[in-house]
Amino acid sequence: MISSIVLITGLLLILIGLWGLLTHRNILRIIIGFSLMGTGTHIVAVAIGYVRNGTAPIIDRALDLSEATSRAVDPIPSALVVTAIVIGMAVTAVMPAFAIRLYDSKKTLSIDAFTESKW
């Protein structure tokens, strides 16, 4: 039940980010749309790894060594998402760099000003 809620939240975030990046003309808002899509994808990946009545795959007081394989959630999507968050942040850092250069050349942040790159 809880993972269905998290899954639907992640999918909604992807849809909102997609709508945002298709509709807005301001470059910074398009960048925020990309970031929302990335966050939504991470949430979907973690939600899929949930095991019913499971807990975090860390062996401590809450989870014994003997019951680890029966009560832990899937660790693989969490591990992949840890890497994906850092890479997503780094790639999102390149986008404002391009936005700064675009603003330097045309003095406006609207992508409607860059029409001469269409063929």
Partner: protein, 233 residues
């Protein structure tokens, strides 16, 4: 008009695909075989209580190395895009009166309290990566947030970019050397058994995982700080 229609069609079709995903989703009852073997093997043969850090730094350590390479490439490309030849940068900087540039009292006092706490918290997260939730990536991102706070509160703060670049390169090279040492001394590339496994749950345990976490945290922190520093006016 056509563009609006196209956008609505795209969103609706994606929405239908996602709805079919959400409706057809049922929660897993038990772990899949690969996940179950990871959860069983990491405490047993790697000696690390945190299964996710064991996966990230040993079983999928090669992906982590690829991620480190991607970060380095991103830092280089931000340096390239924002590098030399930007239009009037230093001219507008000198045009501002001095008190319009310094931040307010609240921001400076808050920064003086928060930056040491953030630094200690980041070191704690990195060092406890193998015992509880945490690890190299998470701690490195927290270090970078501390540097960002310093950059925002003190506009005259000039972090030593040379030091960051050299430190990050050395940390990356040591990471690869530790991996090669795994090839020579232990089971394979980036095997963590090059250092003794120690007692399960102790601070110095789980072989080379704390060492790799520290190197990863240093590298990620320096990388993100260099990227953030390039954005200053």
């Amino acid at each position: 008009m056509i563009r609006r229609l196209f956008i609505v069609v795209a969103i609706v079709s994606f929405g239908l695909v996602f709805a079919s995903l959400a409706i057809g989703y049922t929660e897993q009852q038990a772990l899949r075989p690969l996940a179950e073997s990871y959860v069983r093997l990491v405490p047993q043969s790697l000696g690390a209580p945190n299964v996710i850090t064991g996966i990230l730094l040993t079983y999928r350590g090669f992906d982590t190395l690829g991620e480190v390479a991607v970060l380095f490439m991103v830092a280089a490309s931000v340096g390239l895009v924002l590098g030399g030849g930007r239009s009037p940068r230093s001219a507008s900087f000198e045009g501002y009166p001095d008190d319009a540039r310094t931040s307010s009292e609240i921001v400076r006092s808050g920064t003086e309290i928060l930056v040491p706490l953030i630094s200690i918290f980041a070191v704690y997260i990195i060092m406890n990566g193998h015992l509880s939730a945490g690890g190299g990536f998470q701690g490195g991102a927290v270090i970078a947030s501390g540097v960002l706070l310093m950059l925002l509160a003190y506009p005259q703060y000039q972090p030593n970019l040379e030091f960051f670049s050299v430190t990050e390169s050395v940390a990356g090279a040591l990471f690869v050397l530790a991996g090669i040492a795994g090839l020579i001394v232990a089971g394979g590339f980036l095997d963590n058994r090059i250092l003794p496994l120690g007692q399960f749950g102790a601070f110095f345990s789980a072989g080379a995982i704390p060492l790799l976490s520290v190197l990863l945290g240093i590298k990620v922190g320096c990388e993100l700080s260099v990227i953030l520093e390039k954005f200053r006016p």
